[in-house]
Amino acid sequence: MSIEFKNVDYVYAPGTPFQTQGLADISFKIEKGSFVAIAGHTGSGKSTLMQHFDGLLLPSKGKITIAGDPINANTSSKSLKAIRKKVGLVFQFPENQLFEETVLKDVMFGPLNFGFSEQKAKEQAVEWIKKVGLSEDMMDKSPFELSGGQMRRVAIAGVMAYEPEILCLDEPAAGLDPEGQKQMFEIFKEYQRAGHTVILISHNMDDISEYADDMLVLDHGHLIKHASPQEIFSDQEWVKKHYLDEPATSRLTRELQKGGFQFSEMPLTIESLVSKVANELKKKGDMDE
């Protein structure tokens, strides 16, 4: 169920005056069950890369293997449906894709397309509507009566309801309130723990450091680094050089280091930072006594 890219190139509008290189010679492998972040500034090819995960774009050159299925320049649209069932794509502002009369029907749209029975689709939809934090009485409402945040949840439920093995998220929390953001990320993390692969595109380094365990950094269509967030954010020079932000935790860690705190490795989540600081303080306290 891994994802593998081998020398993938993608060219937009080949042979026209608008020809541009979207991706250039991308190779990497993502293991099953990992939480991968894709970072890079605007126009670096993140969204182009994401659309390759379920064959919305076919590579101009090179080969992709998604959960055992190959995709290349000549893959037919028929075989893509099987791939799309395995890969769930949540686009930026997914609330724009709602169209059915009721929330329930909208969430059932995906499962029904992928051959679930009416009964099963409904069960799945009900389950995921609850899981994303919507109450049961919303199911029969029109999605257009809901608030922006609620619509976002419906849209995300609509993708997760067919339980894809690989879930790709493009800035899923953009525009949500802090509480809602945290809630959504907990759902995604939970989904990963259940054995699925989660891929997150984000500008927010705090989210990446908190949740991801693997990271791809893109720049002008090139993959410039594939490493753990730990490794990437430890090299502060490199992060700065490539115009990436730094997560708040690593910034705080450095400030603490200046003040004499010792860290064996850079803590990236708030929890690990807190426990490490607490440990240090305890040690100090012990020594003082």
Binding site: A13, T16, P17, F18, Q51, D54, L56, S77, K81, R84, K85, V87, G88, L89, F91, P94, N96, Q97, L98, F99, F109, G110, L112, N113, F114, F144, G158, V159, Y162
Partner: protein
Amino acid sequence: MSKIIIGRYIPGNSIVYKMDPRGKIIATFLFIVIIFLANNWVSYFFLSIFTLLAVWATKLKPKVFWDGVKPLIWLILFTSVLQLFFTTGGKVYWHWGVFNISEYGIQNSIFIFIRFVMIILTSTVLTLTTTSLEIADGMEWILKPLGYLKVPVAQIALVMSIALRFVPTLLDQTVRIMNAQRARGADFNSGGLIKRIHSIIPILIPLFISSLTVAIDLATAMEARGYREGAKRTRYRVLKWSKYDWINLGYFALLTLILLLTRTY
């Protein structure tokens, strides 16, 4: 969608780009009118020269223009072939039932073919070298006399420029929505006619909703920036008539004269 070249603007820097959109629009419209004046080989020869000059003056690659003609090639060939088989008169070369190939038939089908290609080429010259905003400004100026008939020209012009401004945005939005629904398993390219019409709903409804949302937001933003309906407004984009426009219209008048002359003699 990316293959369609009609209505596309390609940035460039030749003389045609420096011309006033008003001149280009008027010339293009009149060209389509006077093309029907042509009725013999000499007049078609001059028409072709004029068109090719216009195409050459854009300094764009010929392939771009070929892309403009390509999607319509079947319509052009179909019409020409109909002309070829169903026109009578002159020497008859071949004959079977209602079909016949005659001297006039051959001539007419060639004329029709040239006429189509000329119209497509000149309108492609206009759209390739003029931004949609320039076209809207030019149209506003051309429509101005209608103001005397109480036609709200300024409003129409505003509607036009907003509409043109949102064509690329809506196209992007359409592609994005299609992709999102495709990712959820929607299939737009298979099944019978009814099924295909049905499959448009997941694209159309979100598109309507987002257009209405954009319209409301834009109206609020315009009002917040001081827009009032019917209030007197100044212009930021000013159209400027250059010497190239006189030359263009001069050539055009010359062509009209030649066509009229070849018609009478």
